[in-house]
Structure formats: structure tokens, C-alpha cells
Amino acid sequence: MAKAGTVFKDTPADDLGAMAVREAVARSGIPAEEIDEVIMGNVAQPAHAANIARVIALKAGLPQRIPAVTVHRNCASGMEAITTAAVKIMAGYGKIFVSGGVESMSNIPLLFPREYADWAQRMARAKTFPARLGALLSFRLRMLKPEIALMEGLTDPVSGLIMGLTAENLAREFHITREEQDAFARESHIRAAAALKDGSLNGEVVPVPAYPDFTRIVEKDNGPRENQSMEALARLKPYFDKRNGTVTAGNSSQITDGAAAVVLMAEDEARTRGIEPLGYLRDFAYASLEPERMGLGPVYASSLLFARSGARMSDIQYVEINEAFAAQVLACRIAYDSDAFARKFLGIDCKLGAMDPGATNAQGGAIALGHPVGMTGTRLVIHCLRELKRRNKNVGLATLCVGGGQGAALLLEAA
């Protein structure tokens, strides 16, 4: 993963995704011919690669006969890819799937306004000289004011709020101060930087060349800042609510490019093949809530997941939760541990149970590592399973909030 506009800025999403898929397949030892389908999550689907999953599959060198589909559940797209495959496997619609997520936030384009498109069409249609002149004269400079697709994408069209403002909502609702948010952000950086150093991400991160000229290999994520200080964080101005806000660029997730992929199959299929899996997906749930409180999605989704699977928070030995915003994670932390919240919003009598900060996001999260929206879901699953293994623990939870007012929660088990 690399911060948008840095080393991967000239590596489009399909190229990033192809490299991740190729490595996942090569390392799985599964003959590519035996894959049934490729499912990729991607949010800002590039104009040059419609159904990017298919482009990725072909560029990764998978046989042409393998179909591919792109899934979109906003920030949970990378999880949706996994759970869709899981459901297909359970339903008997295929045995081996490659799932993953990809996002090149560097390459989300600026859009011409619709007015400009209309004008261009008028120009193209005008055949006679007067018609052309007329069309030409109808040009207005404002037609060239671009719409920033990245910002549009991060704005919920129903509530009209950009994601940062939904985090501001939570900061207010749960009274989370700027200092608490900054401290959380700093901790994320420190943990991530330490992980990069001590090698606990080795084997999870595949170095790949940066396109287009291959003059460098990107070996490490470049988001984490080893020396992140509170002072530096405190100096940042609130980004979304300039006057009363607490959410800054420093305590929000980074805009990042990245790709991740996994190979999925049923447990007995893996056993027959003698493959040692990374872990198991036991159950999952997606849940919805008000778009303007979308950051609490994990709590809602976890509630549904627990109700469905019978698991309890006390069974969970490690949690990987996406750090969309520090305020949002801190709000979740409170909500998980609140009877009042549970009664009022989840319709259950008692709280889900507290998250242990010591067993949550041990290597930092999206505030330090970045949040390539379509990809993060897959990364959380991979990282959660690897961390469970490293801790010699068994049961884990990977969860994230989803723009538009949803939450995703996956119950995982280390192999």
C-alpha cells in the first residue's frame, strides 16, 4: 500500500490488482486452470477497466476461460468479494475462488460537468457553419470546473454528508475529544511503524515494481510515520468542519493505493489437496444504519453476526477493525461496551462487550497504513488471521464501517 500520489501513482488499479492476484495464486500452489471465478472488490471503478476483476484476472495471466466479477459494497468491497465467494462455495456454485480488493485512489479522475458533455455533443452534432458557431458561442467557462470524483465518492448522496462529517457526528454523539482522536492516531502510527520494522508484516506484503518504468520496487507500505508526535497532529486544522470540528487529515485514514487477494475453497477441498490454509471464515454479517452515523457500522454488524452465529464478544481473541476515522473507532469502542446503546439501537438487553485495545489492530490500521477503499476489507481479513496465528490464538473478528450507513463483520478462525 502506498499513499495516493506517491510511488503507485502511475500504476493503475488493474495493474495493482493483477500483481496481487498473480502472487496469491502462485503462492497458493493451485493450478490456475482449476480456479472457478475471480471476484474483486473495487469502489472507484476506473473508466478504462470496466468490470476491473476481469481485466485483473487476464492481466494476472489466469486462463481466459475463468469468469470474473467486480463487487461493490463501498469500503466493504474487499470483504464482499470474500463473502460472495464463500456463499457461492456453500451453494455449490464453484469450488475455488480468487477474491480480493483493489483501489488506486491516485487515479480517481476529475470529471467534466454534465454541462460540458452536453456542449461537446452539441458541437459534434452541429453540421452547418451557423449551427457550429451557435454551439461554439454557447460555451461557458464554468463548464470546465471539474468535479473531483474522489470527493464525490466519499460523500453520501442521501445524507449529503462527506464521510468526515459522519465522523464528526460520532465525535459529538459520544463526546470524543480532539486529543483522544489524535492519541489514537499516534498509536496507530507507532504500531504500524514498529510492525514494518520488526518484520511482522513479512509474508503479508508482496513487493512489486512500480509502473510504468519499473525503476523501483515498492517493498513496504509508506503510510506509517515512525516519529508521529502529538504536537504535529495538534497543528492540523479540522478538515471537514473548519469551525467546530475535531476530525483532521491526521486522525483520519489515509488516501492510499493498494491491492490484496486471497484464494478461497471449502475446508474439505483444502484437506483433499493437502493445503494448509491461513484460516477459516466461520460466519459473516452485513448490517445497516443511518448514513450519517455510518461509523458505527461495526457494532451493528457484530450484533447481527453474534446473534446469527452464537459467538460472543468474549469468544473473540483478536479484533481487526478498520480505522476510517479515529473518532469512529473510539465511538465503536464505547458503543460495543454500552448497555444503553445496545438497548436503544441494537434491540438487545445487554452490551456486546468491550474490545480489548491490546488485542485490537496490533499493527496499526488505516490511519497509518491507509485505506484503499476497495481493498481494505481483504487486508483486514488477511491480517486478522495472520495476527491470530502469530498470537497463537483462535477466534478473531474483522469488521469495518461502510459509507452509506452499513457495517460488515466477519467471524474468522485461525487454522
Binding site: D15, A18, M19, R22, E23, V25, A26, R27, G29, P31, K59, A60, G61, V206, P207, V208, P209, Y211, P212, D213, F214, T215, R216, I217, E219
Partner: protein, 722 residues
Amino acid sequence: MAVEKPRVSAFNVEVKDGVARLVFDLPGEKINVLRSSVLEELSGVIARLGADREVKCLLVESAKPGVFVAGADLKELAAVADRASEVAGRGQEVMNAIEDLPFPTIAVIDGAALGGGLELALACRWRLASDEPSTSLGLPETTLGIIPGFGGTYRLPRTVGLSQALRMILTGRPVDARRALKMGLVDGCHPRGFLEDKARELAARLTAGKPPERRRRPLSVRIVEGNPVGRAVIFRQARKDVLSKGGAHYPAPGEAIALVRKNRRGSRDAAMRRESEAIGRLAAGPVARNLISIFFMREEAKKLSWKGAHPGLEASPSRKISRAAVLGAGVMGGKIAWLFSKADIPVVMKDISWDAVQKGFESAYGVYKELGSKGRLDARQVNLKMHMISGAVDYGGLGSPDLVIEAVVENLAVKKKVLAEVEGRMGSRAILASNTSSLSITEMAGALSRPDRFLGMHFFNPPNLMPLVEIVPGPGTDPEAVNGACQAALALGKIPIVAADRPGFLVNRLLLPYLNECVRLAEEGADFTEVDRILHGFGWPMGPFRLLDEIGLDVGREVARILHAAYGPRAEPPAAMERLAGRKDMLGRKTGKGFYVYKGKKAAPNHEIRALLAAGDGAGRGARLSPRDILHRPLLMMVNEAARALQEKAVSGPRELDLALILGAGFPPFRGGLLRYADEMGSTRVRDTLAEYNERLGERFSPAPLLESMIHDGKKFHDGAD
């Protein structure tokens, strides 16, 4: 009087609604070629069609998939080289007859239209081509030492203009349909599925007397070629290009330029006569004979027809490489990876550090960038090809390759270790190959538990350009693996030559005695620029000292040492070699200077190095070396070593040996090969000259036993017909 039909017809003719279809379908062949019997039949068919009142338009087509007409029958041409002008004359008559038909003619080209095939299409008044990748139009004759002989030098310039015609004739490089349309070589370029419809449509318009407008040549071309000054510039440039590409040795391009110039004016008959006379001269000469013979050798090599020379190879089935790995990324590894990616075979480059892997990526991408700048590939294609390459620093990233090529440093211990490591990660049917140039395959095989899957695959540097791969089986290599490696080399667009596991394999073993001798000449007082001039004049693409600069003096010394240890006193490197390699700042092109000082594309003699060359014992023998000695001493060292290699069965035969030296070392092709050259000199003269040198200069010239027995039996290296 009806013309008697040949027993099996090469042409099917049907006439429907006034439109005749002439479909060329040579019986029993995969491709259409024009040979005498075919031309005879065609002549009859054209005569009949011309007399047929019902025919209003003629379509000329081919029934062979991917081929319109591949050209003249080279086998026949080689056999009747002394009567080539006669054969050409006959072909010209048929083409003229087609041109003179009283109704419109349309060549419908779906596939290769090369040489005589394109000339046939040019004799038609209209040409339509399919836009399939297999469609290519060209006149490759000059690359075979001859010229287009069925009116090509007359009709092509009239169709596409002087400069395009000269380019096509002189480079021999074909163009695709789109390009052909742009330059006016064809009148339409259509998808295969619609080609027939478009041809019918055009025929209908032509018979209705409503011909479509032809494309005009670009204004710039009309201006330049429309005046004598512009034309003079074009011809002068063409002559300059030809001279810079080894001109004097190859008469065909010069003849072609002269013909195009002369045939611009005057009658068709005179032009045809000039053309057939020229081809008669060329075909009977040694250059055309040698180039055509090399063409056949290449074809034999591509079909692996030499497998028979290697026991067990015949029977083994061919196999596709669907995934490969290269160990050792570096510049060499990167370029080998490039070869795989170019052939759309996924390949992993593994090295010990990501920095090294990056160098490999950059090296591979560098080749694509160059191709891209020449317009051969667009960015989309380069992106897809680069996706065929991935990097790894551990064996887990390899997947399960069918072929692994080791290209790590030339150090036996390191190679053994790496090979043993990777062996355990490979499937039982996979092939493991070392790209060593100087180390023993047998010895490396000793470190492996599956020596039957292991062999040498020696790519020449730079592998993206050099067409040869030496395939070196070890003592226990399974013939199936040898075959697989040969197939892989072919899939990469290379020519495989099987060589025995003798030090230096084949090419370096022959090249080093030659280079050693050149350094000796310089030690003895010959100026190295003079030696370069004489051997470059012989036809080598570069003189021996320029070549040493390219190889690197340290690398040359190292290989010379290894060969000395293996072959004894006759391979002893000259003392200067050691002194030269000692100067770390003058190791050749890679350090900016060696025998020459390199600045950009320019090379000037390095005067500093003269002192190093002459400092040894051999210096100042005083005797001024004759140009004859400067030429013969190095070449005969090579011939002598080749005779030994043949006798040891280090290579299966003289044809393989000659081809290997041409493709791997740049031995001048027009000479037909080293042993062909020796044959021309005569075994006795070779032996006698060697004996004389042996007497005068040392035992390294002691004639090889094979030479003696050849003289005794009255044989040549190349015995038998070809």
C-alpha cells in the same frame, strides 16, 4: 487446341456471373509456392481465362489458411541456380500475362504474400487484404542474396513509390495489411469475415464500369519523388544505407537499387530483361548460394530435424512451456525473462534481493521501451507483456514452473547451491537449465538428485538480440528434457543447437582460439586496428578487438583460462591477455574504454592499450605481418578447433556447427559458414597452411587429425548435396 491439364491441379477456377475465381491450392502442401510446374499451369489457366468471353473480372485467391503465396520455391531455385534467369523470365511472362488480361483483376490476400507471391498480387490491378496478423506483404529476396525476379523491381515502385519500394526490397521486411493500405500497396484492408464480400463488391463495381477512386500517395511523397533532385537523394540514401550494412559483400541490394533506378523508365520488356539477367547473375554467385543454404539450415534447425543426430530425441513428444522461472534477475536474467514475456509465457525472476529483482524488471522493460520507441508495440501491449513477469526473493513465489533457467553468477559453488535449492521446488516433469557459458554441466548435474531433468541452455548476450541458444545435455539428461529445452528455445524465437558438454560448449570453444590468436598478432606488432580492419573486411560484424571490448576483457580472460585448462597448450592464452585484464579501468565497453575509447556511439582507438599489448616476450619480433597471415592465423585456428570438435562429436555435424557460429558469433553469413569457407579454401590448403604455421609459430597450429583423414579420403567438411 486445349492445353493438357496436369494430373493434380494447383488451381481451381470457377466462373459465376462473369466473375472468375482463381483459387491457388497447391496439392499436398500447407503453403502455396511458385515453382516451374505451377507457373506452367498458371500460364495455361490465364491464357484460357483471357480468351473466355464470359469473364468480366478475375479474383485471385488462396485456399491455404494464413498464406496467400509464400514465394518462389527456394529448393527449386537452389537446384537450378545457374538457370535462374530462365526461370525468372518464365515467371515474368506469366505475371505480364496477368497484367495484360483484358478485364480487371483483384488479388484477395488473406495471409502471407511474400516474394513471388507479392509479385503475383502486384501483377493484378487491384489488391485487397485481410487485417489478420498473418497477413504480411513483403519482398524478402535480398536477404537471400537475390532480388525479386517476377517483375517486383518494376511494379513495386510504380505501386508504392520509390522510397517505400526501396525500403521493402532492401530490408526484405514485410509490412502488415494496415501499413500496406497506408502506403498504397493494397487498395483495401478488411476483416477476414468480410474479405470475400468486399472482393465481390469491388468486382461488381469494376464490371459495372464504376471503379472506386484509388488512394493518392501522400503529398510529401509526390513532391519528393516527382522531381529528379528528390529521386537522386532517395537513391543516394539507399546506397549509403546498403554500404553501411556490409554493402560490398552482398551484391543483391546494390543490384536492386540499380534495377529500380533503371526500370523507372523504358519499356516493360526491357525492365523484365534487366531483372532476369540480374537474378541470373546473383543466383549463380556464391553469396546467394550460401545465404539460401543458411536459410535451409535455419529451417532444419527450427523443425529440429537434427534431432536424429541425438539418440533418443527423435521419439520424444513435444511439450509446451506454460510457466517459467529465471534464477538471478540481473541484466541477463531480466532479458531472458523478457524473452518469455514476449512469447506470452508467465515467468518469475528470482534473486536474493528486491534490488536485484528490480534491475531485472528494468532490463526487461528497457527492451520493450526500445521496441515501443520504434513503434513495434504500443503501451497497452507493453503493459500486458510486462504483466507476464513477476519477481520473487523466495522460492514460494515461483508457482510450479515447467522450465527454470538459472542465470546467477558464473561460480560453480553458487550455481550448484542454487540449482540444488530450486530442484526440490519443481515438479517431476519440469526442466532445470543453467545458462552458464563456461562451467561444466556434468559437474553441476553432480549436485542434483534429478540430473535427468537438468541441462545447459546457453543464451548469447544480449539474449533479446542473439538468435542462438546452445542446448547442452549432461551425461544423464533425459532426451525428453533435451527436446523440451529445444522446443522452449523455439517458442522464445531462438534457434537451438545441441552441443556436447565440452568446455566452452561450441561457439565459445571456437571463438576463443580465434580471439587468442588476434591478441597474439597484436603482441607481435600488428596494429590492433589493422587486425580489426582486415577481419571486419572479411565480413565479421565487428573486428576481434571490438568484440573483445563488447565481451569484456576480464570475462574473455576468464573463459580463456578455463579453455586453457581444458584443452591444454593449444588453448594457452597470450600473455597480453593477463596484462589487459589487469587494468580494471580498461575492461571494454562496460568501463568506457578497452581497445577503443567509447563516447556515445563513437569509438576511437585507445592508444594507452598499445603499450600493454606489446610489453610481452612476443613483442617486436619485427617481422611485418602480412594481411594474409592476419586473416588466416585466427581463422585457421578456428577451423582447426572446429575439426577437433567435429571429430569429438561435440556437435552433430558441419551444418549445425556453421549455423551456430553464424548465429552465435556473427560469422559472416555470405560466406556460408566457417567450414564452408574452409571447404572453399580446400582441405589440403588448410592443412598445409596450418602445418606451415605449426612450423613457424608453434604447435597450437598442429593440424587436427580429422583434416588429415579428410585429405586421405578426398572429402570435404560439407559432403553430400545441399
